[in-house]
């Protein structure tokens, strides 16, 4: 069993979960993920890792409450124990001295891009971080990210903090600030990943996206997380989760993400309180 050190809703719907997992914190690298189960009868949920501390043996994830399983996870609090935290899973993000690097985070990705930003900074890169959200109250960790970045930009849909609009403003930022990226990293919802890949493909630099498809075992057995990259089938859990966003078949991925809609909705479309 893994002890929960902290569980809190940091912004609406996004929860921070810190667990004691010494074995994982010894091994984990940026871009890797873990699989978590909230209860003995709960399903496995893959979660990106947002931070860790070897000395405190703590592993921090930021997840969004989007259905039954994440809802149950969001009901836990510090001191509770959860049966499963498996990891690190997936291949680590390749970190090197690239020169100018742009890191983009949205939603839970604002948290999960942080280890990448930190590692890139340690390698001596100029890191430009772009954080986007619907409104000011959905942004978090700006101080943490700011410490590791050369510049940090915020984009909000309602203009309540930083630029008003969404990720396609990014071109304007590059032009205005004269940034010539050598490498781009994106974390966040599938829409953000696909949209950024589309908008920035003309720059001809790698756009590394950290995918989040439906996944069960996370070790390459079930094949639910398959994704077509450059026409070839890859498994996000063992071949990824990092891929070049310019090569991904996004249309197929969006379709695959919807395949259990009815079942997912049925669990939350329950007039009681979900506890039987």
């Amino acid at each position: 069993m893994f002890e929960i050190i902290k569980r809190e809703m940091i912004v609406p719907n996004l929860h921070l979960l810190t667990v004691r997992a010494p074995d994982i914190t010894e091994e984990i690298q940026p871009g890797q993920f873990v699989i978590v189960r909230s209860h003995d009868d709960a399903e496995r949920i893959p979660l990106s890792v947002s931070d860790w501390n070897k000395d405190e043996e703590s592993l921090t994830m930021i997840f969004m409450e989007v259905g039954r399983s994440t809802g149950r996870l969001a009901e836990l609090s510090s001191g509770d124990r959860i049966p499963t935290v498996v990891g690190p899973l997936g291949k680590p993000t390749k970190i090197d001295n690239f020169g100018n690097v742009v890191c983009i985070g949205g939603c839970y990705g604002i948290g999960s891009i942080y280890p990448v930003v930190r590692a890139l900074k340690e390698k001596g890169n100029n890191v430009y971080t772009i954080v986007e959200g619907r409104s000011k109250y959905l942004l978090y960790w700006l101080d943490k990210l700011g410490l590791c970045s050369k510049r940090i930009f915020t984009i909000t849909r309602d203009g309540s903090f930083g630029l008003k609009g969404h990720i396609n403003l990014i071109d304007g930022i590059f032009n205005k600030e004269k940034i010539k990226p050598d490498m781009i990293f994106v974390n966040g919802c599938t829409f953000l990943l696909s949209k950024t890949s589309k908008v920035l493909s003309k720059l001809n630099v790698p756009i590394i996206v950290n995918l989040n498809p439906i996944m069960i075992d996370g070790t390459g057995m079930c094949g639910v997380c398959r994704v077509s990259v450059n026409g070839k089938t890859k498994f996000a859990c063992v071949d990824g989760p990092d891929f070049d966003g310019r090569l991904i078949d996004w249309k197929e991925l969006f379709k695959r993400r919807k395949q259990y809609m009815t079942e997912e909705a049925h669990l939350v479309h329950d007039s009681g309180c979900g506890r039987k």
């Binding site: 609406p12 409104s135 309540s160 479309h269």
Partner: protein, 765 residues
């Protein structure tokens, strides 16, 4: 009276508001807090207008028209002020849906991530595309918010059944609080706290169940935003169509509108404008009905019990098997059970099939017993709901109106609110109790005697208690006294005898009465089918005189009776122990068209809203096909004039009722669940219903629980003179102190009599 709005002279009625006058003449004034079923409030300030001679900008919803008034509703100043007002509202209301231009593109992604806990924008909002704020923002052409944006950060409240509340979306129009108070007369919710801490809920941190909520859903219907939203259609989106129908769950057959989206029923609303109608529905019609149709464990394909267990077969195989069994059967040895939820057409087809094709006269329904017959024979003289309005004194007898018969309890509450004296007799504390002048609790076990004494007092003028004297005096003083008779007489051991006394009281006092009957089309069943009593057929079964049992949406047995073959024709699974040989799923309400009849023989038609799915046939189709296979034609015949045919009563052994004493101090009230559709209990299909009125759970008043030191969810032993059973305990105010309330699902009574004196103690102590 003449007034001028925007340079247009119009003729209006007196004593109406400017807003109403404008609306009647198709002049739009934006408004949120104003509502046709509610008194003017003047809260949102969006409906401000300019009136010559009046200082400032009066709200049109609170200002009445005066002759010659000159009003302007759409000047630049007003429009600017309204824009500012709406921006203030939006500054603490998540507004992603109003100002994002990425919406179309992003929609492909959103479907998977919209089942979020708290709403922060567009498709994540349950009210998206169906929201009054969105419409007003569009009208006022607001596309930015110049004030600082603030998220209130309230926890989304999900612990009550049927609807969630996200007060981060609330704009404090107060419509929910006012509809609960003014229209439903429930006074459950109120505004708690002040300023930015304001939330809407029952006071003192009570849950809605504790606060006495009926879960009628009026507050959810009238909410202009997504902050009150029903759980079972959250994120379903705006309905494609709204279809008129009525609810099949009790004899009132209330009108409803059925919301359809992508060929699925997603919800039920009361008739009228979907956002404006508070409605008179009860929880069953408002919330449980859509869950019933969409119950995920409904049987989709026929099943046959092979020697090695159940196997799925096709419809044609199922029909073939049924025909093979029935073809050479002796009609005398076949018995039919029909549900009181079947339509007239289904009943007529089944009746013809039983009588003419198979020559069987053994037709019954699990609800048909002496008590129901007594109730139905009385009910034919019952008044209609509208007539309750004209009563000048109302007496309710054993009505439990907490979660059913809302139109009736509403009339009672509204009448009592107007000052009509209302007396409540019985052991339930329900939504009407607050309005009663007096609650008369009959000495436990003396119910029959109480009503006999009233008769005696009326006939001979003697032998009455103070309560009876007061009651009779009240009735005699009123020109139009009305009795409301609850369905509890169906379950009481002495129900038939008490109903006889009540009938006599009504005759002697020339009173009127209304009877609540919990079965949708029981009058239809009794007018189409010359049915026998349930006990008559069960006896035949148990004596081995029946070979084949054909159940159409009905489930009279929990265990398998000694018969050779059981056909269970319903979408809902039969009891496991019944071991039905052939299970054929059939379409249900919402998927078929048909007619129901109420107790006054008024016919009501409903139409199919969705199709039952490709493999599910209707009850009529199944029977027609079986009959065809046998080689006979069905000529279903529904008579023009319907006559209710009541089966003969069967004399039963009299059970003597005891009164509580020191060894058995509590009175247990049993009720065989009446909350069902065909053979499925609403507790099975709706987890919300399980929370508000669980079956096989002992319900006790908090006062008694405190005295005995018992807590919620404890196991308790309930012991009578002859029986001993263990139940989970639920502490609720719906039953009065001294009584225990138990809703059962079995075939008969769990204890020797109803009511029954019992002793209660914690298990393992």
């Amino acid at each position: 009276m003449k007034i001028t709005i925007n340079d247009r002279e119009i003729e209006v009625k007196e004593n109406i508001t400017i807003l109403k006058a404008a609306e009647d003449n198709d002049i739009y004034i934006p408004h949120i807090c104003a509502h046709p079923q509610l008194t003017p409030y003047g809260g949102c300030r969006l409906c401000i207008v300019e009136v010559d001679g009046l200082r400032g900008y009066p709200t049109s919803c609170t200002t009445t028209v005066k002759d010659g008034m000159v009003i302007r509703t759409n000047t630049t100043v007003l429009s600017e002020m309204r824009q500012e007002i709406i921006q203030l509202m939006l500054s603490d209301h998540p507004s992603g849906c109003l100002i994002c231009d990425e919406e179309e593109e992003c929609s492909d992604n959103q479907v998977t991530i919209r089942k979020v806990g708290a709403t922060t924008g567009c498709r994540w909002c349950p009210n998206d595309k169906d929201c009054e704020l969105q419409k007003i923002v569009e009208y006022l052409e607001v596309n930015e918010i110049k004030f600082p944006v603030y998220y209130q950060g309230f926890r989304v409240e999900k612990e009550d059944p049927f609807f969630d509340r996200d007060y981060n979306l609330c704009i404090y129009c107060g419509r929910c609080v006012r509809i609960c108070q003014e229209h439903r007369k429930s006074n459950v919710i109120t505004m708690n706290q002040r300023g930015k801490l304001t939330t809407i809920s029952p006071p003192y941190k009570m849950t809605h169940i504790e606060g006495g909520c009926e879960f009628c859903g009026a507050c959810v219907s009238v909410c202009p935003t997504g902050s009150n939203f029903e759980k079972s259609r959250k994120w379903a989106g705006k309905p494609d169509t709204y279809n008129d129908s009525f609810c099949p769950l009790c004899d009132l057959n209330c009108d409803v509108q059925v919301l359809e989206k992508k060929k699925k029923i997603i919800g039920i609303l009361p008739p009228g404008d979907p956002h404006q109608s508070g409605g008179d529905l009860c929880v069953k019609g408002r919330f449980c009905l859509s869950e019933l149709v969409n119950y995920p464990e409904r049987i989709k394909l026929p099943e046959f019990k092979f020697t090695e267990g159940y196997g799925v077969i096709t419809n044609s195989e199922a029909i073939q098997k049924a025909a093979d069994v029935l073809k050479d059967a002796d009609g005398e040895r076949v018995a039919f059970y029909l549900s009181p939820n079947l339509s007239l057409e289904e009943l007529a087809t089944a009746n013809y099939f039983a009588r003419k094709v198979l020559n069987s006269g053994n037709i019954s329904s699990s609800v048909l017993d002496n008590n129901l017959i007594a109730m139905i024979s009385l009910a034919q003289e019952s008044i209609s709901i509208e007539d309750i309005k004209s009563s000048d004194c109302i007496i309710s007898l054993f009505v439990n109106g907490n979660y059913s018969y809302a139109p009736v309890t509403l009339e009672v509450k509204r009448a009592a609110d107007r000052g009509v004296p209302y007396y409540q007799i019985g052991w339930f504390e329900d939504t009407t109790s607050r309005f009663s002048e007096k609650q008369i609790v009959i000495p436990p076990g003396k119910e029959k005697l109480f009503f006999r004494n009233i008769v005696k007092f009326l006939e001979k003028g003697s032998g009455a208690s103070a309560d009876i004297k007061e009651l009779v005096r009240l009735i005699k003083l009123s020109p139009l006294p009305t009795f409301i008779i609850g369905h509890h007489f169906l379950d009481m051991t002495e129900g038939v005898e008490i109903l006889q006394s009540i009938k006599r009281i009504i005759e002697l006092t020339a009173s009127r009465f209304f009877i609540t009957i919990p079965y949708g089309n029981v009058s239809g069943l009794l007018s189409i089918v010359r049915a026998k009593l349930n006990s008559e057929i069960t006896e035949l079964c148990n004596k081995g005189k029946i070979d084949i049992l054909y159940l159409v949406g009905d489930s009279p047995f929990q265990d398998r009776p000694p018969v050779d073959f059981i056909i269970h024709q319903s979408s809902f699974r039969p009891p496991d122990k019944l071991q039905a040989d052939l299970i054929i799923p059939a379409a249900v309400w919402g998927e078929i068209s048909g007619t129901y009849v109420d107790i006054h023989k008024r016919r009501k038609k409903f139409s199919a809203v969705v199709s039952p799915g490709e493999d599910i046939l209707t009850n009529e189709e199944i029977i027609l096909k079986i009959s065809e296979e046998i080689g006979k034609k069905i000529m279903k015949n529904i008579p023009e004039v319907l006559e209710i045919f009541l089966p003969n009563k069967i004399e039963r052994k009299k059970i003597k009722l005891s009164t509580p004493d020191t060894s058995f101090p509590y009175m247990l009230i049993e009720e065989k669940t009446h909350n069902f559709y065909q053979n499925v209990s609403l507790n099975t299909v709706s987890s919300g219903m399980r929370m508000i009125l669980p079956e096989e759970t002992l319900i006790m008043n908090p006062e008694d629980a405190y005295k005995l030191g018992l807590k919620n969810n404890e196991s308790v032993i309930v012991e009578s003179a002859n029986e001993r059973k263990i139940y989970l305990l639920l502490i609720r105010k719906i039953i009065l102190p001294g009584f225990l309330y138990l809703i059962t699902t079995g075939e008969g009574l769990s204890y020797e009599s109803n009511p029954c004196p019992v002793h209660i103690r914690r298990e393992n102590v």
